[in-house]
Structures are given as structure tokens and as C-alpha cells.
């Protein structure tokens, strides 16, 4: 393949340690443009750590995180967000005391286009910026189906709603790469189905590349084109859903048995 196959995101030999604990060990990962990749593995495999490494929260002690050819190592998280990577968190981290609308507007903050001085002095730039943010926020809320809840306090929503607000907030940033950390956690099968359809739609409509951490196998198998399996901080398998489902190493990792012959 030629240069056009260069992946959007690449992890090359990433190692992340906390004191004595190695959370990621030489992880290699490639996410092509427009792909929908699932990241699975037993608890403690290092999936969320991988997200944290990508978003700059835990800089790798070895290896590189590369976004379209640009090495992200050492870049602070807020800069990485501005490069087009948005994420949701394993435990929902909303701005609970703010309204849903304000939460989503925060997501679009980097596109506001005016500074502190303009904020104080008012004027055309600020007005245009605020209009842009408000329009974007309403658009995204419409997309996730939460328009009715725009003025509600974000912390007052039911759990499933909070997760959606988090996704909406991430989408408001107009990212190129969306990292979803267990978006279906705590959802019942019906909600999961709706989420599934939603992710598909959003991806097509916005041309997103998505990496998804999930424990819900139905969601992962149903929607992901490629799946990467982690265990003990390493990649142990990769492939299409059917390939991964049948891989003995994957089965062993989940069941905790040593790989047999």
C-alpha cells in the first residue's frame, strides 16, 4: 500500500508505567482514517491507559504516539484535544453544576474564536463566537436527542443521559478522532441498541474515526470493523470480529487459562 494508507493514529511500542506497575508494555496500534475500532480485553488490560496515553494524560516512558505523522509525546492534554482528538471517560466526568447546554458549549470552546479582552469589551467577534457555539451545541444536542434537556443541570440527568451529554460534549469539538470509553456501561439492551445505531449514524454523518472501549460484546461485535484485544498491557490479537471471536488467545485471556495447544 502507498502513503494514503497512513493511519490517522498510531501507537508504536508504547510503554506506560506507574511506579513499579507496567500498565502498557510496548503497545502497537494503528487506527486507519474513518475506521471504527474496538479495544477490548479483560479488566486491567490497559485499555483506558491507552486512551490516557493517546490524550497525553500519561506520557509514555517509551514508544511514540503519532497522529497523522505528528509525534504527540510530551504534548499536554489540552493541546492534543485541539489537534482533533476528543474523548469520553470511563466514569462520566461532566461539569455537573452546569447546564447540559453549557457542558456541550464547553466542548466547542476551542472553536470560540475570541479572547478574554473581547469577552469583556463585547463586540462583533464575541457575538459571532457565542452564536457559533450556541448553534453548534444545539445541533449536537439535536443529534443525540437531548434537545429537551438543554437547560437542565447536567448532574441531574439519569445515568444514560449523562453518558450521552458526554458524547455530545466530545462531538461539539468537531474532532477527527473520537475515543469512547465504555459508552454503553450501565445501559440495558434496548439502550445499547439505540446507542449502536447512533454511533453508526454519527460516524457516517461526521466522517469520524472512532476507537471504542467496551465490555459489552454485542455492541463491539455489532459495530466494530476491527477489534484489538489487549491483555496485561500488550496487544494479543487483532482482526475482524469473527477472527477475534475465534482466537484461542483471546478466549484464554478472558477465561484466565494459560494458552493451550
Amino acid at each position: 500500500m502507498g502513503a494514503e494508507a497512513e493511519p490517522l493514529l498510531q501507537l508504536r511500542g508504547c510503554t506506560v508505567t506507574f511506579g513499579g506497575l507496567t500498565a502498557l508494555s510496548g503497545l502497537d496500534l494503528a487506527v486507519p482514517h474513518g475506521a471504527l475500532v474496538g479495544l477490548i480485553g479483560p479488566n486491567g488490560a490497559g485499555k483506558s491507559t491507552a486512551f490516557n496515553a493517546i490524550t497525553g494524560v500519561y506520557p509514555p516512558v517509551a514508544g511514540q504516539v503519532v497522529l497523522e505523522g505528528r509525534v504527540l509525546n510530551g504534548t499536554p492534554p489540552h493541546r492534543i484535544a485541539r489537534l482533533g482528538i476528543a474523548r469520553t471517560f470511563q466514569t462520566v466526568r461532566l461539569f455537573g453544576n452546569l447546564s447540559v447546554l453549557d457542558n456541550v458549549k464547553c466542548g466547542a470552546h476551542m472553536h470560540a474564536g475570541y479572547g478574554w479582552l473581547q469577552a469583556v469589551v463585547l463586540g462583533a467577534r464575541r457575538a459571532a463566537g457565542e452564536r457559533r457555539l450556541t448553534r453548534k451545541a444545539h445541533e449536537v444536542l439535536e443529534l443525540v436527542g437531548l434537545s429537551d434537556w438543554a437547560q437542565a443541570k447536567a448532574g441531574s440527568l439519569p445515568y444514560g443521559g449523562e453518558r450521552l451529554v458526554e458524547i455530545a460534549r466530545a462531538l461539539a469539538a468537531e474532532p477527527r478522532l473520537l475515543l469512547l470509553d465504555e459508552p454503553a456501561a450501565g445501559m440495558n439492551p434496548q439502550e445499547t441498541n439505540t446507542l449502536l445505531g447512533f454511533i453508526r449514524r454519527v460516524r457516517e454523518a461526521l466522517g469520524l474515526t472512532i476507537v471504542l472501549i467496551e465490555h459489552d460484546m454485542r455492541l463491539v461485535m455489532g459495530i466494530c470493523e476491527r477489534i484489538v484485544v489487549l491483555d496485561h498491557g500488550e496487544r494479543i490479537a487483532e482482526g475482524s470480529p469473527s477472527e477475534v471471536r475465534a482466537d484461542p488467545r483471546v478466549i484464554a485471556a478472558y477465561l484466565g487459562e494459560p494458552t493451550g495447544g
Binding site: 471517560f89 470552546h109 469577552a119 443525540v144
Partner: protein, 391 residues
């Protein structure tokens, strides 16, 4: 079409009635400031006719308290950084502004030409002193904000308390501005008009920041720093920014203070004063500028009110002589007690702090602001019912 199933609990309509984030409302236009300036000038004129000098003085003190409380709220309430050293920034502004006025006199009279009328030259000088005071304090705010951004909760509180004490110690040793003996001879440039105008300026600027994307960013920093970073918000820079802006206004207040009392001493800006401002912010509601203003209007004149009550009691008991009683004796006794023991003011503050935390930690206003929308909702509407009523 909501992707989550009908969960138990209130639906969206009822949820709308819950307290919303503090950003309902639009920024305040500069026309408001212009109007306030006119009102301030008029008020000053009228007030000097109706009120005596002491009452004017109390109004000025209250206005300064409003500026201090509102500016502290930007850091403590909105950005969630608990600073206990706000009086330190006030000190920087007070001394910087006073030093300029006293050491340099009124250079504007010369720069603007010899024909400049005195009031204009005086006003120009004062504007310069205010600017210098504010910018000096803001500079110190940046210096303090940078390490402060890396500290958390309790540690930040002690570190900022320490900052306030450091400023005090440095000023006590600064012979050039009086040191231990204090700094006097400051002209009384502060009038009610200036206080009103600058208080309005403070409120407008803070309000405009708060309901902009940068205000939302500060709130995001308060709510969850990691999530804020993930939205592209440079948390450290915003914290420093909050310190700088808040310090700027504290510096203005300090300059006003210096040019009102005409004599300043490092002990005017110590830990006690910082705690006084913190109490005001806590009472009003951390995160609500309206709350801080309201609380400052109540607590600002309180020391003077207590003093008045104590003096009244003293006079009343002296007039009637020992043993005889005039008016409710309990009240009289309370007043005399107050006269003998001014520390009761601080006992009140301390009980306020503890009481608020145990009973109503969100203060008066929580994190809500008064907005036109809210006022409209409170008024009875023809046809009855609020928007969103009826299921």
C-alpha cells in the same frame, strides 16, 4: 427520540425547573456602565447634600467591600481555587497607587498643559494611580497564580494565606513606604462617585467574563480539571488568568481604600481582612457574583453599624446614669458589652462561617445569578402560569 429509556425520576420539563448553571443571562453592555457613571456622579452630588460625611464614608467602605468580594469570587467561587490571601493583592494596589500619588504628585497637570483645571488634573492623576495599582496587583497575581495552579485545596489555602503574610512582612520592612509606621499623607481622591463607578466596572467585567466561553472554561476548571483539559482548556493558564483579573480589581479597591483613609499600614491588609472577604463570599454563595455583591452590602457596613450600636448604648447609659434604665435593658446591656469588646464582630464572622457550612453551604445565592429572565419569572404574568407549566 431519546436513546435512553424512560428512567424513573423527573422528565425534562420538571428538570428545567431545577437550578440551572449560573450562566443564564447575557453580558452587560457598556451603556450600563455609562449610565452608572452618570448615576454615580449624580448620587455623589445628591448624597453630599443629604448624608453626612460619616455616612458617605460608610458607603465608600461598602463599595470597596463589594469590589473585593466580587473579585475574590472569580477565583474562589468560579474557578474553585480557594485563595486566602486576597488582602495581599489589595495591599499591593494600595501601596502602589499611594506611592505614585504621593511621590509623583500630579504630573498630569504639567503634561496636559498649565491651563488644565485642577479637577481634571486630579482626576487624571487618580486614573493613573488606579491603573498602576491594578496592574501592579495583577502582576503579583500572575506570580502567585503560577505556583498556585499546581496546588490543590488545603495546600492552596495555606499557601495563599502565607502569601498575604509575606506581603505584610515585606511592607513592614519597606522603609520607603513607611514600613512599621505606615504610609500617610495620601490625598483623599476617593469619592462616592469613584467607588460606585469602579464597583459597577468590576461587576460588568466579571459578568461579561462569566457568561462568555472563558467563564464557562473557568467553571469547567472548577468542576473537573481533567475533563476540562480534554476540551482543549489550558487549565493552568486559566487559573493564572483568574488570579490576575481578580488581583487587578483587588488592586483597584486597594487604591480606593488608600485614597479614602489617607493613611495605610500593612496591618490593614492582613489575614484577618482576607478572612473577612472570604466570609463575605461564602455568605453570598461561592460562584454567584450577585451573591457576593449582596453579602458585601450586608457585611460591609457591619463593623460600623456595630460601632454605632455600641456608641448609642454607651451614650444612653451615661445619660440615664448608673442603675437607671432607658429602653430595653437587655439591648442596652448588649450594646455596652459590644462597646467594651469589639471582638464580637469576629465572633459573628466565625459563627457565620461555621454555621453556613453546617446549615447552608451554598450561601445565599448558591451559584445562581440574578438575571432579567429570573426576575421576569418571579413577576406575576397575565394569563397565568410559567413557561413550561402544564404537562
Amino acid at each position: 427520540m431519546s436513546p435512553f429509556s424512560a428512567a424513573p425520576g423527573p422528565g425534562p420539563v420538571a428538570a428545567r425547573r431545577r437550578p440551572v448553571g449560573s450562566l443564564s443571562g447575557s453580558p452587560l453592555r457598556w451603556g450600563v456602565l455609562a449610565a452608572v457613571v452618570l448615576v454615580a456622579l449624580a448620587a455623589d452630588r445628591l448624597a453630599s447634600g443629604w448624608l453626612n460625611a460619616y455616612q458617605l464614608h460608610v458607603l465608600c467602605i461598602t463599595g470597596i467591600a463589594v469590589i473585593m468580594a466580587a473579585s475574590l469570587n472569580l477565583v474562589n467561587g468560579i474557578t474553585g481555587q480557594f485563595s486566602l490571601g486576597h488582602a495581599g493583592f489589595m495591599a499591593v494596589g494600595a501601596y502602589a497607587g499611594a506611592a505614585l500619588t504621593v511621590k509623583w504628585g500630579q504630573p498630569w497637570a504639567i503634561y496636559l498643559g498649565h491651563g488644565t483645571p485642577q479637577p481634571v488634573a486630579a482626576a487624571a492623576s487618580f486614573v493613573l494611580a488606579l491603573l498602576v495599582a491594578g496592574l501592579a496587583a495583577a502582576g503579583v497575581g500572575v506570580v502567585v497564580g503560577m505556583p498556585a495552579a499546581r496546588l490543590r485545596g488545603d495546600y492552596l489555602a495555606i499557601a495563599t494565606l502565607g502569601f498575604g503574610e509575606v506581603v505584610r512582612e515585606l511592607l513592614l520592612n519597606a522603609e520607603a513606604v513607611g514600613g512599621r509606621t505606615g504610609f500617610g499623607g495620601i490625598p483623599q481622591s476617593t469619592s462616592l462617585a469613584w467607588v460606585l463607578a469602579l464597583a459597577a466596572l468590576t461587576i460588568i467585567v466579571l459578568r461579561n467574563i462569566l457568561c462568555s466561553t472563558h467563564g464557562r472554561a473557568l467553571l469547567a476548571v472548577r468542576e473537573d480539571e481533567s475533563a476540562a483539559m480534554a476540551q482543549g482548556i489550558d487549565v493552568a493558564r486559566y487559573k493564572v488568568g483568574a488570579f490576575a483579573v481578580s488581583a487587578f480589581f483587588a488592586g483597584l479597591a486597594g487604591c480606593l481604600f488608600a485614597h479614602r483613609f489617607c493613611f495605610i499600614h500593612p496591618d490593614n491588609f492582613g489575614a484577618l481582612q482576607s478572612i473577612e472577604i472570604v466570609t463575605t463570599v461564602v455568605l453570598g454563595g461561592m460562584g454567584s457574583i450577585t451573591g457576593s455583591v449582596a453579602a458585601a452590602l450586608v457585611l460591609g457596613p457591619l463593623p460600623e453599624v456595630l460601632k454605632l450600636a455600641a456608641d448609642w448604648a454607651e451614650r444612653a447609659s451615661a445619660a440615664t446614669g448608673a442603675g437607671a434604665t432607658a429602653g430595653p435593658s437587655a439591648l442596652l446591656a448588649a450594646g455596652l458589652e459590644l462597646k467594651a469588646h469589639p471582638e464580637y464582630l469576629w465572633i459573628v464572622y466565625s459563627l457565620l462561617l461555621v454555621g453556613m457550612m453546617l446549615l447552608r453551604p451554598q450561601g445565599l445565592m448558591g451559584d445562581r445569578e440574578v438575571s432579567l429572565g429570573m426576575l421576569r419569572r418571579l413577576l406575576p404574568r397575565p394569563g397565568g402560569g410559567e413557561v413550561g407549566d402544564g404537562r
